[in-house]
């Protein structure tokens, strides 16, 4: 069986949640495998030690050139040390999306993006499960891994695995030439908006199902009647109907309300990735097969444009 590597993201000395999820995914590829964690950065001894609590082997790749994980630089460093025909696991986040597809080309291995489950390997075939059309249908996807594979794993779907302690191996000497045509400059922090939805206990969240900017008024009326704040999905922000600080999701805010009411939101993983703390989720959607109904506690199949004003009226009467 080929070697399996997991790239470990970290910030402020802590491992990213994806670390042990990748370990879980690796065990579904091969239950007996010793997974090697790859940690890049500068001044990363503590993170490597933490990784070595769960991974049999931890590759420490320490260099000033890697102080920020620029995908092009990381790719070059990895190509200088990864064995051929291996598996590389990455999270399907903004870093994994940046690195994975190009890495697979350079390694001449297969690529499968946004994997939600792994059924195992049979011969040279890796059997994975994916979703299409933002989760509306699932698919079995088979991948020829005879020359290895880069697998991007959806964050949050694999239960973090229990690892076994191991040791750190310093690979920093093998980085080689990592000169790059793309240079990292800086991170610009997201702007703070008029409401802080990360502190809200009750959120009325609106998605593309609202259809028109004018219709947002009914959402604000409902929220006011409930004593809730209004948040939204990404398309509402893309259309500039609401400010970015109201966007829930991986590229928006992470919220932890007690009650989350999703109006005309399909329930993509990037949206639900921002809903934490196990709130009571109510979904109102006109499509009974919308993926949001898989994660909601209570669902209503209805046209929000008709349902929301009626609901608001009744709440006002209380």
């Amino acid at each position: 069986m080929a070697q399996i590597f997991a790239y470990i993201l970290h910030s402020n000395g802590e491992l990213d949640d994806s670390a042990l999820e990748l370990l879980a995914a690796a065990k579904k590829i091969d239950p007996d495998v010793d997974v090697t964690a790859i940690v890049t950065g500068s001044g990363i001894d503590d993170v490597c030690k933490k990784a070595a609590e769960s991974f049999k082997t931890v590759w420490k790749i320490d260099s000033d050139a890697l102080s920020y994980p620029n995908a092009e630089v990381v790719r070059k460093a990895l190509l200088n040390m990864l064995p051929s025909d291996c598996f590389v696991l990455l999270p399907q986040d903004t870093f994994g999306m940046d690195l994975g597809p190009g890495l697979s080309v350079k390694m001449d291995s297969a690529f499968v993006g946004d994997v939600v489950d792994i059924e195992g390997v049979e011969g040279n075939t890796l059997k994975t499960i994916r979703q299409e059309f933002s989760g509306q249908v699932s698919t079995h996807v088979h991948c020829d891994v005879s020359a290895g594979a880069v697998i991007n794993v959806r964050p949050g779907v694999f239960q973090p695995a229990e690892g076994q302690a191991g040791e750190v191996v310093d690979k920093s000497g093998e980085i080689g030439d990592v000169s790059a045509k793309r240079k990292f400059i800086e991170i610009q922090e997201a702007e703070v908006g008029e409401v802080d939805i990360t502190k809200s206990e009750v959120l009325v969240s609106v998605g593309r199902g609202i259809e028109d900017e004018e219709n947002l008024e009914m959402v604000f009326e409902l929220a006011e009647a409930m004593g809730a704040d209004v948040s939204c999905s990404r398309p509402i922000v893309d259309a500039k109907w609401l400010e970015k600080s109201r966007q829930v999701g991986t590229s928006g805010m992470t919220v932890k309300p007690k009650v989350y009411m999703a109006l005309g939101i399909s329930g993509s993983f990037q949206h639900m990735g921002g809903v934490k703390g196990n709130p009571f989720i109510v979904a109102i959607n006109k499509n009974p097969k919308a993926p949001i109904f898989q994660v909601a506690d209570v669902g209503v199949e209805a046209d929000i444009l008709e349902f929301v004003p009626e609901l608001t009226e009744k709440i006002k009467e209380l």
Partner: protein, 262 residues
Amino acid sequence: MEILVCVKRVPDTAENEIELNAEGNDIERDDLVYSVNEWDNYAVEEAIQMVDKHGGSVTVVTVGDEESEEVLRREMAMGAEKGILLSDDAFEGSDGKGVAAILKAAVEKGSYDLIMTGAQADEGYAQVGGMLAAMLDYPYASLVNSIEVGDGKLKVGREVEGGNIEMNEIELPCVLSIQTGINEPRYVGIRGIRKVASVEIPAMGASDLGIDAGSVGEDAAKVRRIDYFVPEMGEGAEMLEGSTDEIIDKLIELLKSKGGIK
């Protein structure tokens, strides 16, 4: 600046509920409404705005069947000057690398400073842009939501977790995958489409592109979709049933008990 934008024709999820067919092995394809992939519209708009400011021209390209021509025409109605259809029976069943290899051949037939793709398409792989860049040995940045043109290089913002922006400098030529929200794509009316209705759109196949037919398409694909299915799910949501009044009453009771109404 000569810009090539890769666009894909996809089922429009805003217009269709995607469902399994009776056999349960494919999606129901009759009556599907197709449109251009949402992300690609933003890429084309961005390219047009860059050319308006800095000169040059925008070309749109797609790998697909004859029907894919309609999305090229739509993007040309937005303001792209040229369209190229890459179509061949040998291309069918290509995986991401196959599509990227076909696009690479098309890139090499022209002379472009900048190539753009959408961040992801209907299948959610988010792969073609990064693969194309690696095959061309061009630098790449994904999830781009701002572009500033400099001398031989661009300053690009990548949208990363939490809505933060990662600023990068990237040398030209390069490949960028574009994230939604970078601009407001212009509206295309029937009139605009009519204007470009008779523009010639060249189609190129494997031999025109100098591609070995065996290196793309189904036989070369390492990644294959076996079927579509509806997964056995846990319980899912408790669906409230009854008349609208009854549903609203139940919902209000639930919201009250969970602290959802203050």
